[in-house]
């Protein structure tokens, strides 16, 4: 199990995956909005999306949990 975490503080703009979906390593799973930029966040490892932890519009800090992958 791995948790995809926020690389920097910002707002969750788009969640690109749904629970139960297969993802590959390096695939973007969430896009944050920070410093007026779109910040794609990729899964480090391949697996199945077990849980979406953050919701679109949430303010998140660096290292906050976004998505759980199994």
């Amino acid at each position: 199990m791995t948790i995809v975490k926020a690389s920097m503080a910002g707002t969750v703009w788009k969640i690109l995956v749904a629970e139960g979906e297969q993802v590959s390593a390096g695939q973007d799973v969430v896009i944050l909005e920070s410093m007026k930029m779109e910040i794609p966040i990729a899964a480090e490892e391949a697996g199945t999306v077990k849980r979406i932890i953050a919701a679109e519009g949430d303010f998140i800090n660096v290292d906050d949990d976004l998505v759980e992958i199994e």
């Binding site: 690389s7 920097m8 503080a9 920070s34 410093m35 007026k36 930029m37 779109e38 910040i39 794609p40 800090n61 660096v62």
Partner: protein, 512 residues
Amino acid sequence: MTKLTADKKHQEMKDTVLKGGHEKYHEKNKEQGKLFVRERLELLFDEGLQAEDGTFANVLAGDLPADGVVTGIGKIHGRTVCVMANDSTVKAGSWGKRTVEKIIRIQETAEKLSVPLLYLVDSAGARITDQLEMFPGRRGAGRIFYNQVKLSGRIPQICLLFGPSAAGGAYIPAFCDVVVMVEGNASMYLGSPRMAEMVIGEKVDLETMGGAKMHCSISGCGDVLAKTEEEAIAYARQYISYFPDNFKNKPNVEDPKLPATFEKSIEEIIPANQNAAFNMYDLIDRIIDEGSFCEVKKLFAAEIITGFARINGQSVGIIANQPRVKGGVLFHDSADKAAKFISLCDAFHIPLLFLADVPGFMIGTQVEKMGIIRHGAKMIFAMSEATVPKITVIVRKAYGAGLYAMAGPAFEPDVCIALTGAQIAVMGPEAAVNAVYANKIAALPKEEQTAFIEQQREEYRKEIDVYRLASELIIDDVIEPNELRKTLELRLDAYKSKKLTFTERKHGVSPV
């Protein structure tokens, strides 16, 4: 003793020394995927060691061949370099009196010859039993670091870390220009996990506390993570090819190569939407000689890319924002990374190429607590002081102090070029309109707000239009993205004779 017995004795002694430590330690090395020190040197040099000193150091002790370190001279791509290399089969590569003396002497030799010095480190640290002789004195271990500082910027100093670099010894990599670490075996730490448990009660394993991956991605003490020793050595051989032998010379120019070819042009890979991410490596590959990129700190602060490359055969140091990671925003670590890299290039006459696509420095409580201002100051300090040719390319945008840090017009770049479509401003249109008209927007009826904001953003875009900046001579040229490679070739050639003294003083007071 007859001549025959003397020769025989000599040969026996020499054979013993060249074999290194006890067989069981060689076995242990093999299990860990480590090469014997002399095998490493075979791989490093074109044709092995051509001169070795102190081979018989501590020979009478019997079990301390070469006193655990090989020092000498060899050639890389036909160029002379000096080396010190710990032998981990001899008391775990630990330092005794003669080990330290040999290291100091090879430093002195490298200085006299004005050639690069490589440190192949694999050492458990000081031999406590010998501490009075090797630790505190004028030619004790401290002198090694003093010499490193003195040699810094005079000759390239390269560290290859194959095993531990413990306690005081951990400062050898710290004072080198670049540190290559072998994953799984290399480590750096001041106190071992055992000591950490005894002294501060922390239970931790070596890899977590001071392993290669940690140092190359989190602490920034390592620059390059290699999978094997062979890979680490190959990196060092490539790295040195971008450098002159010393600060008095310029880097060698190699045979020019065209960039690799790709289906999409530069124009096609840069998104029109300023806020969307793209991969800066794709741009770098399209402007440098094919296969010439030699990256430093790839895994650390990846929002900025630093590496050596060739353009038309000429060595350049590239500092590029990476919009794909953290939006290319500058953080404390990215500023540190860039500062060291800029200073390294400047020391050895390697021209600097800034590829700017930067929304600015990160803001917020967390980064203020980390001291982002003083870290950012380091980058701006190093970049200002650099007197090598500096070429700045505004690829898409340069906002706020990001423009300053990326060698904006005020920092004496030889040229500041904008690609068509680039934006330079205190901040982007979205943030600016918010900042200026927040009260007015709030006062407007809801249905009028969006139209007003869009109209103001459009006005703002006109204000920061790239031709307006070119017309005001703020930027020196505007070019089509696909012309970038050719422009860089011509500019680098044109600035070859640049000679500049930054200012006169004892030295600046560098922010840390």
